[in-house]
Amino acid sequence: MTTSFDLTPRDIGSILEGPASTRLRLELCGRGLTVSEGDKVVRGQPLARAEREGGGRLHSPLDGVVEKVGGDTVVLKSEPREGPRKKPDIEVPDEPLARLRAFGVDSFGLCPARTLVVNGLEPEPGVKTHAAILMHRRDELLAGLDLLREAVRPARVVLALPRGVDTVFDAQSAGFEVHLVDPVYPAGLMPLVVRSVTGRENPSEVAAISVSRLLEAGRVAQGEPVTTTVLTAGGKVFEVRIGTPLADILDAAGLRVAGADVVAEGGVMRGAAQYDLSRGVDKGVQALTVVPSARVAHCEDAPCVNCGECVRRCPARIMVGLMTRHAEFGYHEKALEYDLDSCIECGLCGYYCPMRRPLLQYIRLAKSELSLQGLYPGSAASASSGTEGEAA
C-alpha cells in the first residue's frame, strides 16, 4: 500500500486542550535536574538546566510536587495550589537568544543572519500542527517574531507556506514575505525549505525556525516559559502539557493501539517509535502517530543489489547504496567521504529499497559512531528523538 506524501493539511480544526493528566512524566534528555524528590513546584518553575550548548531549560507544566526522580525522568504529581499563584522566579537575560533558552526554547539554528526563514510547511504527511498554529495563534506568533527579530536582526523575513493552503495566515499584514512550496514530502524538511526560499543549500547567512518553535518563542515574549507542545494526533490538533503520558493523548485522540503496532512521536517517515505508553510526551513533538501492525514495514539483513532506487529518490543527491554499504561494514569514515553529512534523514531511501535494507539505521549508526569520535558535527543523541537541531 503506497503512503501518500501529500503534505497539504486538511480539515484544520481548532487546537484542542490536551488531557488533564494528574501525573506528568518528563524526559530530561540529558538535562541537569535542579529539583529533588519531594520538592513542591509551581507551574513555570525551572526543573532542569540544559547541558547541551544551545539547549533550552525544562520547566514544570503544573503546580504540584516532584513525586519521583529516576533514570532520565522526573515524575510530577499535580496538587492543588495553596494560595495565589506566584510567578516563578526565572532570571531574564538581556541577550535574546539566552532569554529564549532560559525560558525553555532551544536556540539551534538561530544566530544573527541576513535572512530568517520561518517554516510553515508540515514536517510529515498527515500532520497539521503548523497550519493549526498559523490559523489560531497569530498574536503569539507575531510576539515571537518580534523577539526573533531582536535575536537575528534579519534584513528579510520569509514565511514558507504550502501551496494551496496559504489562506490560513495573513502574512502580508504581519510583515512576512511569503514563499509558496509544493506540499509534497520531504519538501517540509528544514534544509529543503531553506533551499526553496533562498535557492542555496545550507547557506551561511540564513537562520531558520519552524512555526512550532516560533510559537514557543511567542510564549517567551509574553513572559511565560515553554510548558506545552502542539501536536497532531488522530487527525486532531492538541496543545498538551509536556510530560503528558502518551496513553492519555492517544485516548483523547480516539486512537486505538493493538499488539505489534508502532506508536511514534512524530510521523511515519521520521518518527521515534515508543515502547512504553506511560512515557510522557517530549518537548517539541509535533505529532503522535499509530501505525497498525499490518502496515508496519519489516526490514531484512539483505545485501544491496545496486538497483539505484535509493539514489534516484534521495533529495540530497547522495550515492545512498554505496554510502550505506560502507556504514554497514563499519567503514564510517568512508561513508563520510560518500557524503554521509549531506543526509537530511528523510527516510525515502529505506521506503523504496526493494531489498528492505535498514538504510536510515545504517546512516544514523555511522553518524553516531563518527560523532563519538568527534568527526561528525551534531550529537549522537539526535538519533533517538529525531530532532537534529530542528529537522522541520
Binding site: R200, E201, G266, A273, V296, A302, C307, M319, G350, M355
Partner: protein
C-alpha cells in the same frame, strides 16, 4: 505498562512502498515468456529443454554454494532462476546437456557466488557463463554447427564470412520475428521488445541504458556503413541480429553490474552499443554483443563517479 499491548519498536520509516526484489525478478521472467514461446515455435522443444535445465541447475548450484559458504539461502527471490534463464537464452537450441549444465553452474558460481552472492557481481553472471563456454567449446556454441537440422541461417556469420552482399538479403521483417539462428531466446527480437516494454512500464528497468545502447549500436553501424559501404551493413541489420536487443533490454541493465547515476547509465549504454559493432566488424566473433556487455560492465565503477555533488556541496552551497 502492564495493561498496554506489546508494541513494535523499530527505526523509521515505518511504512514501505511495497517494491520488492523478488517481484522485480518475477517480472523479468514474465517479460521473457513471449520470447520463450517464440523460441519453442522456431526451435522446437529443444529450446524448452535447454531453458528448463539451465534454470534448474542455476538455482541448485546457487543454493548449494550459499549453503557451503555459510550464507543464508536466497532461493525465494528468483534471482538465480533469472540468471539461468538469461544464460539459456544466449545458447543455441541444440546445445548439449553437459554444456548447459556447466555453463549455468558457472554463471551462478563464477558469476556471482565467488564475489559474495546477490549484489556482489561486477559482471553480468549469465554473460560470464556464456563467455567461459564460448571460449572453451567454440564448436558447440556456434549456432551453425550446433543446429545442423534447420533451414534457418545465422545472419552475422554470413556477414563475417560471406560479406554484406550475401548477408544483406535477409528480410528485416523475418529478423524481427526471430527467423534466424543465434541464441535461442536472444534472436526473438519482437517478443523481447514486448517484454522490454513491459519491464519499462513496471519500472523494473529504466529507459536510459537500453535506449543508449541501441543508439550506440545504431550510430556506430551507420557511421561504419558510411565509411565502408561495401564491407558493412546498416543500423537496422545490426539492431535486429544477434543479441543486440537482448543485451540492451535484459543484459546491460543488470543491477549490480551497471551504473546508478544518470550520466553513468547513458555513457555505459552508448559504450556497450558501440562495442557491439566494433567487435562485430573487427573481432573474430560474428556476434560481439555479450562481450560488449562485459566490457561495459568493467567500466561501471568508473562511470558511477560521474555524478552531481551532494546536498550543500559544490556550487549549490
Amino acid at each position: 505498562m502492564s495493561s498496554q499491548p506489546l508494541l513494535t519498536v523499530r527505526f523509521p520509516p515505518f511504512v514501505h512502498s511495497g517494491r520488492s526484489w523478488a517481484r522485480m525478478n518475477i517480472d523479468l521472467l514474465a517479460a521473457l515468456v513471449p520470447a520463450l514461446v517464440a523460441a519453442v515455435f522456431w526451435f522446437g522443444l529443444d529450446a524448452l529443454r535447454v531453458v528448463a535445465l539451465s534454470g534448474a541447475v542455476a538455482v541448485a548450484a546457487d543454493a548449494l554454494a550459499e549453503r557451503l559458504l555459510g550464507r543464508e539461502p536466497r532461493i525465494n527471490d528468483a534471482s538465480a532462476l533469472v540468471i539461468g534463464v538469461l544464460f539459456a537464452f544466449l545458447l543455441p537450441a541444440g546445445a548439449p546437456w553437459w554444456l548447459v549444465v556447466s555453463g549455468s553452474a558457472l554463471s551462478t558460481l563464477l558469476g556471482r557466488q565467488v564475489f559474495g552472492g546477490a549484489g556482489g557481481n561486477p559482471l553480468n553472471p549469465a554473460v560470464v557463463g556464456w563467455a567461459v563456454c564460448k571460449i572453451s567449446w567454440p564448436t558447440q556454441m556456434t549456432p551453425d554447427f550446433a543446429m545442423l537440422d534447420t533451414t534457418l541461417d545465422y545472419p552475422l556469420a554470413h556477414l563475417k564470412y560471406f560479406g554484406p552482399g550475401y548477408a544483406g538479403d535477409f528480410p528485416l521483417w523475418d529478423l524481427l520475428l526471430g527467423g534466424q539462428l543465434g541464441g535461442l531466446g536472444a534472436v526473438q527480437v519482437l517478443p523481447l521488445l514486448l517484454g522490454g516494454a513491459y519491464l519499462l512500464w513496471r519500472g523494473v528497468i529504466r529507459p536510459h541504458v537500453p535506449l543508449a545502447f541501441l543508439l550506440g549500436t545504431a550510430l556506430t553501424a551507420t557511421f561504419f556503413h558510411l565509411l565502408w559501404p561495401d564491407q558493412t551493413l546498416g543500423a537496422a541489420f545490426h539492431l535486429l541480429t544477434g543479441s543486440a536487443v537482448f543485451a540492451a533490454l535484459f543484459l546491460m541493465p543488470e543491477c549490480a553490474s551497471s551504473p546508478v547515476t544518470r550520466w553513468g547509465m547513458l555513457i555505459y549504454g552508448v559504450f556497450g552499443g558501440t562495442m557491439v559493432v566494433i567487435i562485430r566488424h573487427w573481432g573474430i566473433y560474428p556476434d560481439g554483443a555479450p562481450f560488449a556487455v562485459l566490457l561495459a560492465n568493467l567500466a561501471t565503477p568508473l562511470l558511477d563517479r560521474i555524478r552531481p555533488k551532494a546536498f550543500g556541496k559544490g556550487r549549490h552551497a
